[in-house]
Amino acid sequence: MVEREKTRTDDVPLDDKAKRMRDLLSSFYNPDHSSAPKPPSDYENLDAINSTSFDPDHYMNVLVQKSNLEGLLRRHVEMAAEIKNLDTDLQMLVYENYNKFISATDAIKWMKSNIVGMQADMEQLLDKIMSVQSRSDGVNTSLFEKREHIEKLHRTRNLLRKVQFIYDLPARLSKCIKSEAYADAVKFYIGAMPIFKAYGDSSFQDCKGASEEAIVTVVKNLQAKLFSDSESIQARAEAAVLLKQLDFPVHSLQAKLLEKLEQSLGDLQLKTVRIENILRESNDPSKQGKPFESIPSTGHEVSVHGFAEAIRAYRVIFPDSESQLIKLAQNLVIKHFEMIKQCVKRRISSANFLGALRTIWTDVLLMDEVLSEASLADFSLEAGQVTVKKYVASTFTYLLQDISDALLKVKVSPKEEAEEHALKLALEASKKAVLQGSMDLLLDFRQLLDDDLGLLVKLREFIVDWVQKGFQDFFRALDDRFLLLSGRKNPSSQDQGLSEGAPGEKVLVGIVLVLAQLSEIAASFSGDGARGYENEHAFASGEIRQIFRSAAEKLLHHYINMRTQRVSTLLRKRFTTPNWVKHKEPREVHMFVDLFVQELRAVQSEVKQILPVGLMRKHHRSDSNGSTNSSRSNALLDDRMTQKGRSQLLETHLAKLFKQKVEIFTKVESTQESVETTIVKLCLKSLQEFVRLKTFNRSGFQQIQLDVQFLRTILREIIEVEDAIDFLLDEVIVAASERCFDPVPLEPPILDKLVQVKLARSKEQSK
């Protein structure tokens, strides 16, 4: 353990030891002891052993006091080792110092012997340099005069040559003009310019005049060359450069040329106008079959070619005029597209539209070759996007217009009541409008998509999107339009409704039915047709179908509502006008039944034209045997009413209980029967409610009884009478008996007789 401790003390305080050594050495070499930093007079500090103020006694005391024996012994060993080390270090230092001193002495001795012989060599060198300088001065002065003379002669010669050139200039220029070497002429003239400027007013006046004249002709010739289309573009470009060198105002020329270009553009547009005219004419039904391309393309293409050439030339001539040209070219494209837009407003077929687009695209490609910086392709792509979009939108609008036109046309025709199948025709026409119209539309768009025109290829994705969106919007708009036409929507909320005239009340009831059925058709079509076309893309056909389904339902309900409302007003009048408490004995069936039946027949004729026949559910009921039925129900009623008295309500309740609750209002289907019976049921229910609001005397009750009895008979002749209708008819009589002071029914023979009389009369009338 001691061993290990010792090695550690050797290792660890090595730094400490080295530092102390350095300090010692420095104090040894440092002559001025006083300047050495005074170590702190900290007697306790064991490190202070090196300081001058080290007190050994004190140190010993402290050490002895502080350390134990083992510590003291260790300290002793350490110290002995340190002292030994210090001794060897000191010895080595002394040896080194001595060596250095000896070598320094050697060097000094060697230097002394070398320097002695140098002085004499230096003096000799100075003498020689002096003599070289004096000789070179002599040569210089002797040659000076001659050199000056030569320089003078040379200058004179140059001057003479220039004068000669100037005098020759007019002749040379004219020679150049003759040989059309305008470039040389301009070069000469520009070379002579500074001299003319300096001396033109005095000695070389004639010369200057002559050469300027020549240059004027040069300029003239150059200008002519620039403007002449027959010259090669290279030549024209050179001419432009030369003119520029002559400080000729090129800008005005440029402007002039640009004007010319614009003018030609204008001509081009005039031509295109003509093309569009042709295009429009070809849209006339008489010429529909004609292929489009053959008519305008030749003339048009030539002119566009010309324009492209001109632009190319211009560009070469004035290389820094791109921006103007770009503007010009874009202008051309814009004008083109505007033209198409105009046409789109007027409704054109897709073939024509395609043709127009193709023309533009070829133009654009031509221009692009000439002027690629204008990035006309991109530019026209943008414009094309807008146009195609507009085209898609307008096509849909027209389809919508077609459909509502088809409907509105019918709206007028049924006014002639003789027209039996007006509604049917209406349905057919509008159905065709919807189906055929949409199909044609799809074919048209397909054509657009299939075309390999560059413009359209790039737009293909967009077009598909637009068409899809357009279709969805179209179906929605169609739905809106249907609702609008049906008068269900408040026209004030939609501006476009104003153009339809005031729908609202005036709308024909039959049309609503047509619309209902049409919605149904549209529902099935928008599902299938659209799917067939866009099967690879997500198309919200389900949603659209849903919209139409609900619209169809809504419209059907609306139709039923409108019809029942008319009957309701009829009934209301019937029940509010007379004083039922003072009613007279019934003598015949009241007129309102006739009116009701008349309304019903109207419904029937409308429904028959439009709606499909539903399943016949109750065949056994169709053979009308009114008398037996009526007597049975009469018996039931009699039963109920003879025991008039306290238990009457209980009676009816019990009767109802046993009768099994009849579902009066079932879901309406869009079949003839369903609609008819629903209307009848609603009307009968209204009748019951009206009866409940009144109070009757006996005669009043009997009148109701008679009316209902007749109604029961005649309804059997008109429609399928289901249980619910029978039930409702009974209910009307029950309601009347409840609201009567003295409910004594008519005797069955009298009732039958009155009904028969009425039946006979109504049959007579119908004949």
Binding site: N561, S568, F665, E689
Partner: protein, 350 residues
């Protein structure tokens, strides 16, 4: 949809009208009367038991004639009004339930006052909806009467009267709960609004066949109307041109509508198709800013019909929310059956 949730109570005869006894703050009770031309008619005071599972007959009083309209006084639970008919003539009266009720042997009702200024068919009597107020309105076919009622003196005096004008046969009315001076009356072709101070028409909504109208209890300017064939419309009275919202109503006529006194947009309607429909059709104030079409499309997404109670045997004419427990309503079908239902299950769904 579901049948057995309601609590039933049978009247002896047919009935058309039921009213919530608002002044009774300790119990949820309703008052109803029968409509029988030839029998002796009764007024039933019904209380919902504290457990909410039973309807108890709290009082049974004979009433001289068949009752066409009945309304409970909003500040005295013992006072109510009826409109009755002998079959030939009509009358209206204010009644007081005698003190000794509790025994069921048909004690006589005390007649506080007769509103006997009418000539034709009387349609309804309205109590002022906003608390203690001695004013009454009665509406007959052609006139509106404003009465001052003095219960202690047992007298009612006509304060003012106004004819509705030619060709306007009134059918009913509603008193604005937000404005004590505003009353709406329904007639064949329109809803008319009156200022009671001047008895002048202030506004009209042109709309045919309105059968019933009811003010929104929470929101000012909102009126709900029920129409024969075309369902329920919600109107903002500041824009009387077109309705704010449209609800499909009932398969046959929509007879009555009533707005919940507590929950905004909760509407109850009764129809002659033997159903009661519960609607949730909130009309937000922001509707004014947004265009109508947007509002319409947004509302179309949520079905406003919360529930259809279809367990009725006959047309439902009587309908009343309870003011004390606003999730409870009572309905009366023509066969004299009172059904009390709770709409709580449909409220929690929101």
């Amino acid at each position: 949809m579901q049948g057995s949730s309601g609590i039933g109570y049978g009247l002896k005869y047919q009935g058309r009208c039921i009213s919530d006894v608002r002044a009774d703050t300790d119990h949820t009770s309703f008052i109803t009367g029968t409509l029988s031309l030839r029998e002796e008619n009764e007024v039933h005071l019904i209380r919902l038991s504290s457990s909410g599972t039973e309807l108890i007959c709290e009082g049974l009083f004979s009433h001289p004639n068949e009752i066409w309209d009945l309304a409970s006084c909003p500040f005295d639970q013992r006072i109510f009004s009826t409109v009755f008919s002998t079959g030939e003539s009509y009358g209206a009266a204010i009644w007081q339930i005698p003190e000794l009720y509790g025994q069921l042997n048909s004690p006589q009702l005390e007649r506080v006052a007769s509103l006997d200024a009418h000539v034709g068919k009387i349609n309804c009597v309205l109590w002022c909806p906003s608390g203690r107020h001695d004013k009454l309105i009665s509406i007959d076919d052609e006139n509106i009467f404003l009465w001052t009622l003095d219960c202690s003196k047992k007298a009612a005096q006509v304060q003012s009267k106004q004819s509705s004008g030619l060709l306007h046969y009134l059918s009913g009315g509603a008193w604005d709960p937000h404005d004590i001076n505003a009353v709406a009356t329904t007639c064949e072709s329109s809803v008319q609004f009156w200022d009671l101070r001047t008895m002048k028409k202030t506004n009209t909504i042109e709309r045919a066949h309105i059968r019933n109208a009811n003010y929104d209890m929470k929101k000012n300017h909102i009126l709900v109307t029920a129409e024969d064939e075309s369902g329920i419309h919600i109107w903002d009275l500041r824009k009387p041109k077109s309705p704010v919202r449209e609800l499909p109503g009932h398969t046959h006529w929509t007879w009555a509508v009533t707005c919940n006194p507590e929950y905004d947009g909760l509407i109850l309607s009764a129809g002659t198709d033997s159903t009661v429909n519960l609607w949730m059709a909130p009309t937000s104030a922001e509707d004014e800013a947004t265009s109508e079409s947007i509002a319409e499309s947004a509302t179309q997404q949520a079905d406003p019909l919360l529930n259809s109670y279809s367990d009725y045997e006959d047309s439902v004419y009587g309908l009343a929310w309870s003011n004390r427990e606003p999730w409870i309503f009572a309905s009366l079908s023509y066969d004299g059956r009172v059904v009390v239902e709770s709409v709580k299950p449909f409220l929690s769904r929101k």
